[in-house]
């Protein structure tokens, strides 16, 4: 593979450049090139047809072409970006939740069928009270509205999309989230361990590896200045987050997050949702801080 070192690969990399780069990197065509024994065929826990129909409200419309098989690079690892020569990015699934709340902000058809009901989430009493307050006040206090970065799952149901930039020579993956204060995450893929004394941050410290077609990311070192989800799932600095990103086909990313946070929950729990591919889309400039006039009108109160 041609080395990318010294090519000035920066975080401001445009999707167009990325597409050009994708042409340089030898990428396997769609099809069963994965030599790591990843499961083939449909994911038994997800009904993609349901997801598709449920995705109808999204902007891509009903007339999109059928999904293609999951793309892979030549070395067999899953390609979480566009096919060679194409454009596209993932759509933040704003309607999805980690746990189903009938009164909440969910779009059940896009949530994973294995998700817990909110009543079954193993909240510690204080955490449940915080969650209930955030719901009762229609999430008016969401730090994201104050243009704080969205760590963990919050990034993946934030509007305006995200993209994965895979830099194999540097052994890291950067995830860029469009809908926020210009936010990105770094996933170290070089086998390193988490540092011992981490200063808490919004993104935490992430290390990753592949399991078949899933990118598995392990993160610690979070601060408590954001919500784990749009509807107000709380976290503490004790959070150990495990995320699995499984590209089920060209158009669907399965997102799963396991919350292991003894500061807020009595035991680990898992939830997730499907994320749609927006073919032809590219990231654009979105800066939450530019003209954010919403905060002073965040009245709260009942939903109806």
């Amino acid at each position: 593979m041609k080395s990318l070192r010294g090519t000035g690969f920066s975080l401001s990399l445009s999707a167009a450049t990325f597409t050009l780069l994708a042409l340089v990197i030898p990428i396997g065509a769609q099809g069963p090139t994965n030599d790591k024994g990843s499961p083939k065929g449909p994911d038994p826990t997800v009904d993609l047809n349901v997801g598709r129909l449920a995705g109808a409200p999204n902007r891509r419309g009903k007339n999109r072409p059928p999904a293609r098989p999951t793309p892979h690079y030549a070395d067999g690892r899953v390609n979480l970006g566009p096919f060679p020569g194409e454009k596209g990015m993932w759509e933040g699934n704003a309607g999805a939740t980690l746990a189903t709340n009938v009164r909440g902000l969910d779009n059940p058809a896009m949530n994973l069928p294995t998700n817990l009901k909110i009543a079954d989430v193993p909240f510690l009493p204080w955490a449940r009270a915080v969650y209930n307050y955030r719901q009762a006040s229609t999430t008016k206090d969401d730090p994201h509205v104050r243009c704080k970065p969205s760590g963990g799952p919050r990034m993946f149901h934030t509007p305006y999309g995200m993209e994965f930039i895979d830099m194999p020579d540097q052994k890291r993956i950067t995830i860029i989230g469009v809908g926020g204060p210009h936010t990105w995450r770094t996933i170290y893929m070089d086998g390193r361990e988490h540092p011992k004394d981490l200063d808490p941050t919004f993104a935490g410290h992430s290390v990753g590896h592949y399991e078949g077609d899933a990118l598995v990311v392990d993160t610690v070192g979070f601060n408590e200045k954001f919500w784990l989800t749009r509807e107000g799932i709380p976290l503490t600095e004790h959070l150990h987050l495990t995320e699995r990103f499984t590209r089920l086909d060209s158009d669907t990313l399965k997102y799963e997050a396991t919350i292991d946070d003894p500061g807020a929950y009595s035991k680990p729990w898992t939830g997730g949702w499907l994320i749609n591919w927006m073919a032809g889309e590219e990231p654009y400039e979105y800066v939450c801080q530019d003209n954010n006039r919403d905060v002073r009108h965040m009245y709260g109160g009942p939903r109806d």
Partner: protein, 129 residues
């Protein structure tokens, strides 16, 4: 032609745009409002475009209203450019009133009085609270 314009307007108005914040925290879905006024300012900026209109009541009193739309990118997808609406234009806005009692509303659609052209405002209403 008018039929075509109407059809396009309906399609555009139906195109949702997720907000970066809770709609229900800021606006009362049970309080729709229609405002007719003269544009005094357009802030074509993220995270939401705002524009302002002077609305005159039957007694001749003029009140300046703030109207929130979607992000610039969402509006561009819905057929807007940053020059679509100019200061001095007369517009009719269909939207939803702010909960806090301020002279603010979330715009669902904007009709240009001079042409009758109606454009969706990339509102998040009806898609997610």
């Amino acid at each position: 032609m008018r039929l075509l314009t109407t059809a396009i307007a309906i399609v555009l108005a139906a195109a949702p745009s997720w907000a970066h914040h809770s709609f229900a925290a800021e606006y009362d879905a049970k309080k729709p409002i229609k405002l007719k006024g003269i544009v005094t300012k357009v802030d074509w900026m993220n995270p939401h475009v705002y524009f302002y209109i002077d609305v005159e009541d039957e007694k001749g009193n003029v009140t300046n209203w703030a109207l929130e739309m979607g992000p610039p990118n969402g509006l561009q997808r819905a057929g807007w450019t940053r020059n679509t609406m100019q200061i001095g234009d007369e517009v009719v806005v269909d939207g939803t009133l702010a909960k806090d009692g301020s002279k603010q509303a979330n715009a669902r659609s904007v009709t240009m009085a001079s042409t009758g052209k109606r454009l969706g405002a990339a509102s998040s209403e009806g898609t997610n609270p």
